[in-house]
């Protein structure tokens, strides 16, 4: 495996460029996973998501994940990009591309990479709900609404 491509960006993610990076005649399969901003979560409507990172540690953890995945599966290439800042509905927050000799390896590595990224990479999202509230998403903590809607008297 060549050096993994690891990136944090405030620009829209060019997933085609990312996919081209991992394509190889040594690979029979390419797996691309995109996380996108979904409008509805448990019936609540999202207007936007804002992503924040602890950048040096996030990059270091993303690289560590790529290297761990390359030890578990025979990855031909791997690339991981996370978007930061304000994202509109449908925009791409994260892109993971892996190429592997066989498809089972690609599906397993891609699944492990996104699952583990969500557990260990220091990036946080804040919901901007359609009712005007903002809420950090911090799994395992209690209700974290920080800006309740201003209600009239």
């Amino acid at each position: 495996m060549a050096d993994p491509h690891i990136e944090l960006t405030h620009q829209p993610i060019d997933y085609q460029a990312l996919t081209e990076r991992v394509r190889s005649p040594q690979a029979g399969a390419v797996l691309l996973f995109l996380g996108t901003v979904r409008e509805f979560t448990s019936g609540r409507q999202t207007l936007r998501l804002e992503y924040e990172a602890y950048p040096p540690m996030a990059l270091s953890k993303m690289r560590e994940l790529a290297e761990q995945a390359a030890q578990r599966w025979p990855l031909t290439e791997v690339a991981i990009v996370h978007r930061l800042g304000l994202l509109d509905l449908g925009e791409i927050s994260v892109a993971i591309a892996v190429s592997t000799p066989h498809r089972d390896q690609g599906f397993e590595a891609g699944r492990w990479l996104i699952d583990t990224l969500k557990e260990v990479v220091p990036v946080w999202k804040q919901e901007n709900w359609s009712d005007g509230t903002q809420e950090w998403v911090h799994p395992g903590t209690s209700d974290t609404a920080t800006s309740p809607p201003a209600l009239g008297p």
């Binding site: 924040e52 040096p56 220091p122």
Partner: protein, 87 residues
């Protein structure tokens, strides 16, 4: 009471932890031979606003997750933040 050998560390806060405290980084005074557990207690005492996150806060030292037993020194990069939610 300031004891000779006490140290001051700078702690970066992120996401709801920073919002609750209102700023980042923050400076925290720690006893000599402090470890990550001492840092947690000092942060909780100095910033009561962090209470809702208390047991959930994670500490990173040198850009890696640290357990409470890990010793601290003033020259390390230290960060404290709630559970991650990227992806």
């Amino acid at each position: 009471m300031k004891v000779p050998g006490d140290m001051k560390v700078s702690v970066q806060l992120f996401a709801r932890a920073r919002d609750l405290v209102g700023t980042s980084p923050v400076e925290v005074e720690l006893p000599q031979n402090a470890n990550v557990g001492s840092l947690r207690r000092a942060l909780a005492a100095q910033f009561p606003a962090l209470a809702p996150l208390g047991p959930h806060l994670l500490v990173a030292v040198g850009q890696d997750y640290a357990r409470d037993q890990q010793p601290l020194s003033p020259d390390q990069e230290i960060a404290c933040f709630p559970p991650v939610s990227g992806g």
